[in-house]
Amino acid sequence: MKNSVWKYAATLFLSHGLLLPVFSQQSEPLINATLKGLVLDSISHQPIEGVTIQLEGVTHQVKTDESGRFQFVTGQRLPLTFSTSFLGYKSRRITARQAQIQILLQPAVSDLDEVVVVGYGTQKKRNLTGAVARVEASEVNKIPVASFDAQLQGKLPGVQVSTNSGVPGESIFLRVRGTTSINSSSDPLYIIDGVFLNNTSLQNIGLGGRTSSPLTDINPADIESIEVLKDASATAIYGSRGANGVIIITTKKGSYGSRTKVDLNLQAGWAEANRTLLPKLATGPETATLANEWWINSGLDNPALKQTFANRPYRPVAEGGKGNPEEQPTYDRLGFLLRHGRLQDYNLGIQGGSDKSRFYIGAGYTGQEAFIKVIDFSRTSVKFNFDHQLSSRVKIGLTNNFSRTYRNQARTGDGPQVSLFNSAVSSATNVPIFNTDGSLNGTDNTYTLVDNYDVNTTSLRYVGSAFAEVDIVKGLKFRSSFSADYNVYDESQYWNSKTSIGIANNNQATSGISRNGTWINEQTLSYQYAFGNHNLSAILGNTLQSNVLDYKYLEGNGFANDSFRQISSAANIIASDNWTKYTISSFFGRIGYSYGDRYFAEATLRADGSSKFGANNRWGYFPAFSAGWRISREAFLAGQSWLSDLKIRASYGLTGNQAGISNFAARGLWTGNEKYADSFGKVSPATGPSQLGNDDLRWEKTAQADLGLDLALFGSRLSVTVDLYHKYTSDLLLERPIVGSSGFSEYWANVGEISNKGYELLISSLNVKTRDFAWNTSLNISGNKNKIEKLPAQITQYTRDWVILKEGYSLNSFWLYEQLSVDPQTGKAVFDGQLSDGSLPTSARKVFRNAYPKFYGGIGNTFTYRNFDLGIDFSFQYGSYAVNLNRYFRERNPSSGGVFKNVLNRWQQPGDITDVPRLTSEGLNYTIDANSRYLEDASYLKLRQLTLGYKLPRELVERARLTAARVYFVGSNLFLWSKYTGDPESNVTSNPNAQGLGSFGTPPQPRTFQLGLNVTL
């Protein structure tokens, strides 16, 4: 056998050496005929650049230049038959009888010939049997958010996107067909040019629960297209990581035999607060009035408090008070914090290729300032993709992505101290910002935090791969690749002597460096075979992946003064570190068969072994099957000219999940990270059990069935895609709560089941198309119903257990006491389940509503008129709820900080109809944390993106020696319609299980306005 391997290798080598000249000899033209041509758009009669002209019978091909012209010489004689192909236009087969020819290409309204990227390969969209959604990056990449995932909102059916905060570069909440997991991650798998991309934030410094997104290291301008694989048939090839969908990012590659094209895009503008989403604070006099009322009412209800009208806090100064309410000033801290955040985005892309190689070089800079002071994000990136045909059989290539992102951060989100946005909201408006001596009043006020607290993060990221592809024999291709995703995330934080933490520690500096390194080695062998009407394709492969994450943390306390910031100058230095690793080994295969472009079938299998699991269940097997039937090709529908395409698809399969759980979740562990002293002052290491082991821990499994229909009508001017799916996840990886008397509160186990059922609808239509005017509409709506089918014990989330996971309910349901009304006679809050004696038993706390929308989606219209184009995109969601934590904190005791205007609607006298109960510290009115009064409908409709562009006239452009030039305006989040007070998408934490906790300390998403110029050389 060894012998035959060598024999094979020798054959391979020789064939390359020998066959090459033979091939080139074949394509050497004998000059006999010259063909010149011009290719124009059939409607606009504009020249089209880059159209491939392929002469039949030979390998020779050329492309049209920027003026749509091509020319080739051939050994054949006229008439010549050749075909044209260009993305977005219908391909034509033409026979030229003369040496000069003009060709009109019809724009392809149908996208059925579109090639879609699927797992380990590409497929024509028309041949798909799985559910795959696609978006061209250019449709969304002008929206000024830091990462491509956040740009997808409202664009793709089955993809729910919520941007949790207005801080650029923070993690967002994205789900493909619902949430399947509780303690494991429900994020999709991200793959960029075949490299599995880390999507777990490396942030370690606490910023109030919100984390940065690692996807921001990828420049959206380098992306060509984004494909979302949704059903089991599409994702099972990624086996253990496919359960939550797979998002495949394909970057720009250049094309063979094309002229070098230089594309420059400059875009700048600003971000500002949508003021309707900002908290509305009561004025100084209002705050004081409410504080007095609270004081007096509480005193009436509980005389022991000794709070009376006579000693109310806001009484005349002469009486020892703080002055009457009407004398109180009003200070605007929020106004001070706001600004117009500068937005900049500059990108240069150079792409092209020769016969044997192609390349893309991208360089970009993005700068995004938040609309509140201090916070900003910037990214500098370089992209280099290169492929080269070593011989007719061997191709090698590289993809490279280098980037550096820099963040100036601040604490937003939760936390009693030092939360920047919160500091502007939580101080009462009548409290002076400055003391009479001009110094700042109190620690951690907004002004202090802006100037005296620094958090900076630099992320250096390399994502890339090198591959070689060998055509072994016709139809059989071997590919091997090595890929890496390497990220160094460097955080530093400094609290100077004016902040509370600085005061407490004589200044504090922290530094954390995380390094995440993934390497992947992958081999695939793919085969294509066609005979008659039969088409067979197969792929077989393996992957080895290893991931190491290590973290080093330094903290210095006690600095000489504010000028000393380096940790080495601190009096006390604390250090810690962490190291963790996992490996995955996989084998996979797929066989596809189609008959006569009518019947399609596909089967996939992947086997994954993960180091995370117990020795008993390390390997998981994930099969999937799918079939498609193009009915429109059947004889009985032939000749129906209105019907362009009709296909039904069905798939069923099993996928897995293991992301997000601890790398050592299956182990029984004792930690060595604790200390105690043997005698006073002598600290020594301590150990103790920290985790209960589970050798049976195994893969979380999701079975998914999908039924789909693709319909195209009227020459594909109207196309509809409908999908119905049912996902059922079992063996949930769960930190299962166990009896506390065991000494543990939970351990990792496979318990619980979750289902997601839903539908997706995508309608695209070309409403009008004339020579000058075109109008396209695209609508997508998706609904998903989530249900926890089995869970042994309820699990509560977040500090006050507002959110609960409980069997029979959706994930992220709320656990609250429902306030039904405010008694118009007494002003007391009336709760569901309240007993006749007025007490409220724990049993009255009920699970209801949840953070997920009943349906969501987007509707987009694009209009082009001559050189103008206009795009209007809306996104929406309906039926989601959120506890408005801002209101929870600011609509209570008015003497404990900022008060929202809504409290002015409180009950004051018998007969008042309101939902804001009488102000008092006694009774249930303001002592129930989990009060449904703060639960709000978070449905919304928003104008996500508005683009208006103008292509400069051709004559002008040519005079400037350019190929094309376009100026445009793009605005995002311009209008929002919602009942929610604030940004309905906001969430206090990046924790996916605690979604539905809105607003607290979290800046809403900004409105942005930008002007751009796009020039192509």
């Binding site: 056998m1 035959s4 391997v5 009693p416 101080s427 002076p432 009043n441 620690t443 072994i472 059989l476 933490i501 005061i503 407490a504 520690n505 004589n506 081999q523 085969y527 077989l540 393996n542 080895l544 962490n578 995955i584 080994s585 084998f587 072994g609 180091s611 390390r618 182990r667 562990l669 004792w670 990270n673 604790e674 200390k675 105690y676 002293a677 043997d678 006073f680 301590a686 150990t687 103790g688 985790q691 209960l692 082991g693 589970n694 709560p737 009896v739 506390g740 008397s741 065991s742 000494g743 509160s745 014990a793 309820q794 500090t799 257990d801 007490s839 706390r845 003497s895 404990s896 002592t927």
Partner: protein, 459 residues
């Protein structure tokens, strides 16, 4: 087709064989910061680290560092909660529900501490002795585990009543404890048994941050006081009071904690923290100007008592008053003042043993007992720089001792439990229902543990 298969086979076989053989070692990844269960307590050294681990659990934020403390703090009238989690105030007005998160954290951590102790109690006695790992040292380690287990069950019993007694370590998820709740008497019997073992095993040394025979005796004094076994309480308190070269009432009052002092003769048992292992409650005591939140504060009542020179005396150092932009009257507790959050938690102080003996003697009410009781009480008063009391009858003396306990341990976790053990809580704190003298078992525990039933009248 055939040739194709042949060629592929040649190509693939070596590849697959290579990959399959490499796989098992490729998938074997060992953690570095933790170790697997089996290799934890194997010799003297590892036994010592495991015992330190029990203390680490005892002082953690979920137990004496914060959560457990809150339960006693807010249930009585010395300490109030003024933070954003207003639901903590339900402890103060005795309407607390079983879903209060801090109930569950404290409960779970106390049992986690017990589990650590159980590991030591079950494994260390079997370890082979060496020249450095002597029998005395082995006994000390086991004795410390018994001591902490006793303290943990004592805390459970006085807070929740009789509880499930788990005396074996939890080895795996398949062998979780399934035991019914024991009666209060049985729970206390277990405490006594463990304390007596600890007293017997522990060395007769002075170490204020670790359990010794003396520490065990001090806790036994408290235990017998709770049990109203007055003569034993007197006997055990006297062990400490009489050991006056090691234990005394330091003067002035604040010198046992102020100016970064710790480990003084006042202290019988304290849990220490350092900058790497800070105390969770510290930041909630600290004023905003010192980097804290002042969510935990002395009540107005205790403030008034402490600053009264006739009652508080030097103990007025425990409190101060400040204001902020939003709050003109912020009362600050000064027992926790270190801005680096390394304040120790004082579990047993010499003053407690004086007052324990005073109370036990007063209760005995025999000849000379009242005088002796008064002397013990006055020792504490004298140290606080207030006038000694004279000529009190039994009832008045007990009343004075109760008051003295209140101010002497104003910001330590004594008041609630003192009122409970003397049966005075309902009257003093105005609690209508006797059911409220126990806290509810955490909601989540009752719902997942069929062996655990809620305390009567609570939910």
């Amino acid at each position: 087709m055939f040739t194709l298969m042949k060629k592929t086979r040649h190509f693939l076989y070596p590849l697959i064989i290579l990959l399959l053989t490499g796989c098992n070692s490729f998938l074997g990844v060992e953690p570095r910061s933790s170790v697997s269960d089996e290799v934890t307590i194997v010799d003297g050294n590892s036994a010592a680290t495991a015992v330190r681990g029990i203390y680490a659990a005892l002082r953690s934020n979920d137990y004496y560092g914060y959560s457990f403390q809150l339960l006693g703090f807010f249930s009585a009238d010395n300490i109030v909660y003024r933070g954003s989690q207003t639901v903590h105030q339900t402890l103060t007005n005795h309407t607390v529900k079983s879903d209060l998160a801090v109930l569950a954290t404290a409960w779970n951590q106390i049992y986690a501490t017990i589990n650590r102790a159980n590991h030591v109690i079950s494994k260390v006695p079997g370890l082979a002795l060496t020249t450095t790992f002597t029998e005395t040292y082995r006994n000390q380690l086991v004795g410390e585990a018994y001591f902490i287990r006793a303290l943990a069950y004592f805390d459970l019993a006085r807070t929740w009543g009789g509880v499930q007694l788990v005396l074996q370590p939890t080895a795996s998820a398949s062998s979780l404890p399934q035991v019914p709740r024991s009666s209060l008497a049985d729970t206390y019997a277990q405490v006594l048994q463990d304390l007596q073992k600890a007293e017997q095993l522990l060395p007769d040394e002075t170490n204020r941050i670790r359990a010794t025979k003396k520490t065990a005796r001090a806790l036994l004094a408290r235990f017998y006081l709770y049990q109203k076994n007055w003569s034993e309480a007197i006997k055990y308190a006297s062990y400490i009071i009489d050991d006056n070269s090691n234990y005394s009432l330091v003067t002035p009052y604040r010198s046992f904690y102020a100016n970064n002092t710790s480990n003084t003769k006042e202290s019988v048992f304290e849990l220490v923290y350092d900058i790497n292992n800070t105390s969770g409650q510290a930041s909630q005591w600290l004023a905003g100007a010192n980097g804290g939140t002042a969510w935990i504060r002395p009540s107005q009542d205790i403030y008034d008592l402490l600053v009264n020179p006739a009652i508080g005396g030097d103990r007025s150092a425990l409190v101060s008053r400040t204001s902020s932009s939003t709050d003109p009257n912020i009362l600050i507790g000064n027992l926790y003042y270190r801005t680096d959050r390394t304040d120790p938690v004082f579990l047993i102080r010499t003053a407690e043993l004086y007052l324990t003996r005073a109370e036990a003697r007063a209760q005995l009410n025999g000849e000379g007992d009242l005088t002796a009781a008064l002397a013990d009480l006055n020792a504490v008063r004298r140290r606080a720089n207030i006038e000694p009391l004279e000529g009190l009858g039994k009832a008045a003396l007990l009343q004075a001792i109760e008051q003295e306990n209140r101010v002497e341990f104003a910001l330590e976790n004594h008041r609630w439990y003192d009122l409970l053990r003397t049966g005075r809580a309902q009257e003093v704190l105005g609690i209508a229902s006797a059911n409220r003298l126990l806290l509810p078992i955490p909601f989540a525990q009752v719902s997942i543990d069929p062996d655990l039933h809620q305390n009567p009248g609570l939910d």
